[in-house]
């Protein structure tokens, strides 16, 4: 069975889709596109589509990944066109490769997040980030399905910088300056999410943005230990299946 690895984005208003919403949408799109998806055996067969580390509801992403098992070999570029055309605008297919050896989930070691904080004060943000990075641990609490859970939000944060840009999504008046946090966070258990880091900033410096943040995952993948940069997790598949043809760069513009 050929397996295809898909990188897709959830953008704009479709960032409010939950993981379950996306999986239904993908199953339907696969059928609409006529992709020969494999089904599990048994009483109620399920299409063989698996997801790696989905971004939470309300968070946009330029780098979500899934894997499709197909019964007859497909040309990745055609699957990309077919699937993208069958998904609603806002769920956009960015890259499809044939899976090489090795699991995809193992390669998704870190995420690069962009957190836009409209109306937040830049100086306060910088002070908070400085304090956060200076701390050895920052314990935060999050309500999980199993009740409140306390964990350290500091260790997972490999990089955290403040910059400024203009508002991009429709939520705010276009063109107004806006504080932006960029953070590279290692995937751990329990997962440290951008809102946990924001909780940490509130704890260390009482930094609280006035409106809900706009969060976008820009990339996820393996960490290059020497450069500290994020690599494209599908490059390894391309190397083994097509001899190293370059994929798209790590960053895309959110819609």
């Amino acid at each position: 069975m050929q397996r295809l690895r898909v990188r897709y984005a959830k953008r704009g208003r479709l960032r409010f889709t939950s993981h379950r919403d996306i999986s239904r949408a993908v199953e339907r799109a696969v059928r609409r596109a006529g992709i020969p998806v494999a089904y599990s055996a048994g009483f109620s067969p399920h299409p063989k589509i698996s997801y790696a580390g989905a971004a939470p509801t309300g968070v946009a992403s330029e780098a979500e990944y899934l894997e499709i098992g197909v019964t007859t070999p497909c040309v990745p570029e055609q699957v990309k066109l077919g699937l993208d055309g069958s998904l609603p605008p806002g769920l956009d297919v960015l890259d499809v490769v044939e899976a090489g050896p090795g699991g995809l989930a193992d390669r998704l070691e870190v995420s690069d997040w962009e957190v836009r904080l409209p109306g937040a004060d830049r100086e306060l943000a910088e002070v908070a980030v400085e304090k956060f990075l200076a701390a050895s641990t920052v314990d935060v609490e999050r309500l999980t399905k199993k009740g409140p859970r306390r964990f350290d939000a500091r260790e997972a944060v490999l990089r955290l910088v403040v910059s400024e840009g203009t508002d991009r999504t429709a939520a705010q008046v276009q063109g107004r300056p806006c504080v932006i946090l960029r953070m590279v966070v290692r995937h751990m258990t329990p997962a440290v999410r951008p809102d946990d880091v924001l909780t940490g900033l509130r704890l260390v410096a009482d930094f609280a943005p006035p409106v809900p943040p706009e969060v976008t995952r820009l990339a996820q993948g393996p960490l290059d230990a020497s450069t500290g940069a994020l690599a494209d997790p599908l490059d390894l598949d391309r190397d083994t299946t097509r001899g190293g043809e370059a994929g798209p760069a790590g960053e895309h513009v959110a819609g």
Partner: protein, 636 residues
């Protein structure tokens, strides 16, 4: 006047609410047309949560048909949950459409589709959030025409004060006609304002405008008469009937939501109307005559719908789908076409006979044989004669035996409680029936691994049915009978564990009864309930019987008078001026025959019994067979 999207304001609230995806639109096959170039703009509302409203066929069909008209634009709006409602009020965000997030008040027409009366309070929330005055009399020229449709619109009197207009029957053609009247009136510079527009609609006799009718009452509270208060307004308003369903093969581009909804499938209506003559069934009475979609059109619609939507389930809808004259060929043809594709087929409304099992077997070729549903509705033979549901105990046992013997493991049986003339033993008869079903199943399969679920609902007398004169059972009686039934089932050592029992208490049915057969005076109750926080009355976690009773008391409305009181033949009923085509004398005669156990055959196969619909409406029964078959698809 430019109309802007409110989405940028809504977006900031979405992270704070449950299931935000339901408010963002963007469904596959949804349409956003240019506002400024449209001449007539419709907001279509299903007055319940998105997850219930999105799969609604009525709204989906009108949305598509209206958007296909060059000068017309249609968008959808749904009831927002209380969490978002509170935030919208705090932020001053109006009721919006999910397509382009335009404020509902900016539209020309707000069409609200009522499948059930329990959506009335949600309409008031939407009007209020939209900034549209709740009472039609308070609306100005800048407010949309608030127009009701759907089955509940066959008695819109309880919401008459809140409506500008109502339409009875099939919406396809009349919505286009209304669009044209609105377009002309606007193009002429809106002469005479809102009043003239309503007058133009009312004159046709096809649109009911409540304010053009006065209701007079007797001192004892009964209605004396309902009469037009203007010249040129007809005494009666007639329902609409689409005669050729093949000419209206909608939905062509099914809406595919991102959010999870109650029906995740592509549905094709295989026929409209039903003449089985079940006396409790309003749908069967008001949608006559039977009009079939041809096997060829059904096949083409399924093929197109599956392709356009990507759904993996197809539902063949109607009031009694196994009654389609070519259902066997439809079932076999579709089962052949989709065998091995993981596309499953379902036939939601079924009747009790062995033929049905054959159909179910065809439809389960792709999957497992889990559950089959039958609706005997009445627990005793006598009861079933009263309601004209002609199923004998023998029929039922033979049918379930066949089902169990062919590998079906679970049978679900639907019943009603509180039917006219019902006695305790009629309801207890349900337990006997269920036990016999299990016994028959165990005997034929030699296995104890079979189940039967009894699902029971409270009967509510509905307008335009032979039971429109009947006394509704009070909730104490219904609850007492249900409890006795439950005890009889649970207490049975031999069969009790194999029988599931699902029921609701009798109180919600009383409120439904008040709203179903209410008149204009009931409007004050609805408003008081809404003002005291009533929302989402179709949801048990939101419904409050106490709130309804308190509001009725406050409004001086005697709930029992509207519900548990039997009506006399000559009493003017609140909906008598609304014409579903049914001859009032025939309905009364059928009501009398119900009490004496007289049966009525189906007029598709026996001579006409003069219910009155076809001659009054100029319609006729349209059924096959066409003799055609479904050919295999070349590419699946």
């Amino acid at each position: 006047m430019p109309v802007e999207s409110i989405f940028h304001r809504l977006e900031a609230l979405l992270p704070k609410v449950q299931k935000p995806i339901q408010y963002v639109g963007g469904e596959l096959n949804s349409t956003v047309k240019d506002w400024d170039s449209a001449e007539v703009r419709w907001a279509l509302m299903y007055p319940d949560a998105y997850e219930v409203g999105l799969p609604n066929q009525g709204v989906a069909i009108l949305y598509e048909i209206l958007n296909e008209l060059p000068g017309t634009l249609a968008e959808r709006t749904y009831a927002v949950w209380p969490d978002l409602e509170a935030l919208m009020r705090a932020e001053g965000i109006p009721q919006f459409t999910v397509d382009a997030h335009r404020p509902v008040r900016a539209f020309d027409v707000l069409g609200v589709s009522f499948s059930t009366e329990l959506g009335y309070t949600n309409m008031l929330t939407a009007l209020d959030l939209a900034g549209i005055p709740l009472t039609a009399a308070d609306r100005g020229d800048d407010d949309p025409i608030v127009l009701a449709g759907g089955h509940a619109a066959f008695n819109p009197e309880p919401i008459a004060d809140f409506l500008d207009a109502a339409v009875l029957g099939d919406g396809e053609q009349i919505s286009i006609a209304i669009s044209e009247v609105v377009r002309e009136w606007k193009a002429e510079g809106r002469p005479g304002g809102r009043d003239e527009l309503l007058m133009r609609l009312a004159e046709s006799g096809g649109v009911y405008v409540p304010k053009f009718y006065d209701v007079d009452y007797h001192p004892d509270g009964r209605i004396k008469r309902v009469a037009p208060n203007r010249a040129d307004v007809p005494w009666r308003v007639h329902k609409h009937t689409v005669m050729d369903l093949d000419e209206w093969p909608y939905p062509k581009k099914p809406l595919v939501p991102l959010a999870e909804t109650v029906h995740e499938r592509f549905s094709v209506e295989i026929f409209r109307g039903c003449t089985r003559g079940c006396r409790f069934c309003q749908a069967g009475m008001i949608t006559r005559p039977v009009r079939e979609r041809s096997i060829t059109t059904i096949g083409a619609m399924v093929e197109n719908g599956v392709k356009e939507s990507g759904f993996n389930e197809v539902g063949l809808l109607s009031l009694s789908s196994a009654d389609h004259s070519e259902i066997a060929d439809v079932a076999k043809g579709l089962a052949d076409r989709y065998e091995g594709t993981n596309t499953s087929l379902s036939l939601p409304s079924t009747r009790v006979d062995a033929f049905n099992i054959d159909l179910a077997n065809e439809f389960s070729r792709n999957g497992r044989r889990s559950g089959l549903t039958f609706a005997p509705e009445g627990g005793s033979e006598r009861m079933r004669k009263v309601i004209n549901k002609m199923v004998t105990e023998e029929d039922l046992i033979r049918t379930v035996t066949t089902a169990y013997s062919q590998g079906w493991r679970q049978v679900k049986l639907y019943f009603m409680c509180g039917l006219p003339t019902e006695q305790d033993e009629d309801v207890l008869g349900i337990a006997d029936l269920a036990k016999k079903v299990i016994k028959a199943g165990r005997d034929i399969t030699g296995s104890r691994d079979i189940r039967c679920t009894v699902s029971i609902g409270g009967f509510v007398p509905k307008p335009h049915t032979p039971f429109q004169w009947a006394a509704q059972a009070d909730h104490e009686t219904v609850d007492r009978r249900l409890k006795a039934l439950r005890d009889s089932l649970r207490g049975d050592k031999q069969y009790g564990k194999a029988i599931g029992f699902r029921y609701h208490d009798g109180k919600p049915s009383i409120v439904e009864g008040l709203l179903s057969r209410g008149d204009r005076r009931v409007g004050a109750v609805i408003r008081a309930v809404w003002e005291s926080g009533g929302r989402f009355d179709g949801w048990s976690e939101h419904f409050s019987y106490e709130r309804w009773m308190a509001a009725a008391e406050q409004a001086g409305v005697d709930v029992a008078w509207y519900t548990t009181r039997e009506r006399e033949e000559n009493e003017v009923l609140p909906w008598d001026h609304l014409d579903a085509g049914l001859d009032r004398e025939w309905l009364w005669q059928d009501w009398q025959e119900a009490v004496t156990g007289g049966e009525v055959e189906d007029c598709r196969w026996t001579p006409c019994y003069d219910c009155g619909v076809c001659p009054t409406m100029g319609t006729e029964i349209q059924i096959g067979p066409t003799g055609r078959k479904l050919l295999p698809l070349t590419v699946v």
